[in-house]
Symmetry: C2
Subunit: 218 residues, 2 copies
């Protein structure tokens, strides 16, 4: 048993995503973006590697098969991009929760086996500039070294050409939506090769008025 290579479903790889158009028209924008993402990624095809369930607070996207990070990143990029295009320059935020290593809803018992290497994420430039507050949490570590993979991921973000600053409890990435998502999904997926249970939370802000007028976004 312990020699088998685990599937994404066995490892429990997936995310929760929400988009928040700051607009009276938010419901239509969200529903249209979900439909558009479904269409662009051809999620009606029988061989799609992901499953989707939309709930009251956010949408769950779980990986059944195939390369986990690239599929999830493509879903996130397409959903956020679609909603942004439809929002006509209005402020929009998105929240992501990425999780690896917790296949059950509440328990985190891993099946014994080998964790497969993940492919890097490659996304075409979106033309949408974002600010993202990013936190990465390796959970099942040895109790002392959990900051090391985080620092390595931050260094990688800096090397990628994004603007990287730090705030309390989060690293702020600024740049093209696709580049920001690539760094975030790759870092999570890379740490996941070493640490069985790793989660990442991201708050993305697009067209924030506080960039222009200095007024605070709460």
């Amino acid at each position: 048993m312990s020699g088998q290579t685990l599937s994404p479903k066995q490892i429990g790889i997936g995310m929760r995503i929400s988009v928040h158009p700051h607009s009276n028209d938010f419901e239509r924008i969200i529903l249209d973006a979900l439909k558009e993402t479904h269409r662009i990624l051809q999620l009606d095809e029988p061989d799609t590697g992901i499953e989707i369930a939309t709930g009251e607070v956010s949408t769950y996207v779980g990986v059944k098969s195939g390369d986990a990070a690239p599929q999830l990143a493509a879903y996130a990029a397409t959903l956020i991009h679609s909603a942004t295009l439809d929002s006509d320059g209005q402020h929009l935020t998105s929240h992501l929760l990425l999780s690896r290593g917790c296949p059950g809803e509440a328990t985190c018992q891993l099946v014994p086996g080998r964790i497969p290497a993940e492919k890097d994420v490659h996304l075409a430039k979106s033309g949408v500039i974002v600010a993202a507050a990013w936190s990465l949490y390796p959970l099942a570590d040895d109790g002392s070294s959990h900051m090391e993979p985080i620092m390595a991921a931050v260094d990688e973000a800096k090397a990628s050409g994004l603007t990287v600053t730090s705030e309390h409890y989060a690293t702020i990435l600024r740049g093209d939506l696709s580049d920001v998502l690539s760094v975030i999904f790759d870092a999570w997926s890379t740490v996941g090769q070493e640490v069985p249970h790793v989660v990442s939370h991201v708050s993305i802000s697009i067209n924030s008025p506080s960039v222009h007028n200095g007024a605070g976004a709460a």
Copy 2:
């Protein structure tokens, strides 16, 4: 040195909070809610125990002195309640990141010392019903037992009379905003007595149309 009782500032106790009115009028609602919270909690007084810095993506609230969880919970409850009252039944979401044990921005070197016991959170009922997707992460644990305090916290939420269900990667709490926040802040603060570094992420949804029409919130 190791006998001293650490201050909240030395431990690094604080949160990031954002509110997202799904309304064309979002900017005024956010700025008014920040001001109203400042006024209600009398944050101009020289002896206030918290410090506030509003950034592009969210607002940082750090605890300098006094009881950490009750002060942070009061800020969160007042800000969300104020924005909800001003949103006139429109959909509003809020995101919280609670953190203990990471006093620096990027490093988590704890000063040696005793972690003081925290007071329980008590908030008057708000009359606002919310759904919250809640995740709790004890980080600097011994590598195997990090699910135990989480399960204990979930049991406590159930005992408190809230509706508790689980989704992938999050526990869903439904009930009065004040009761939901009390459970979340108390759980985080209780786990923080045992585990030096513990964070919690919460997505709160108010007046979601998907409750009424079954349409998905993305």
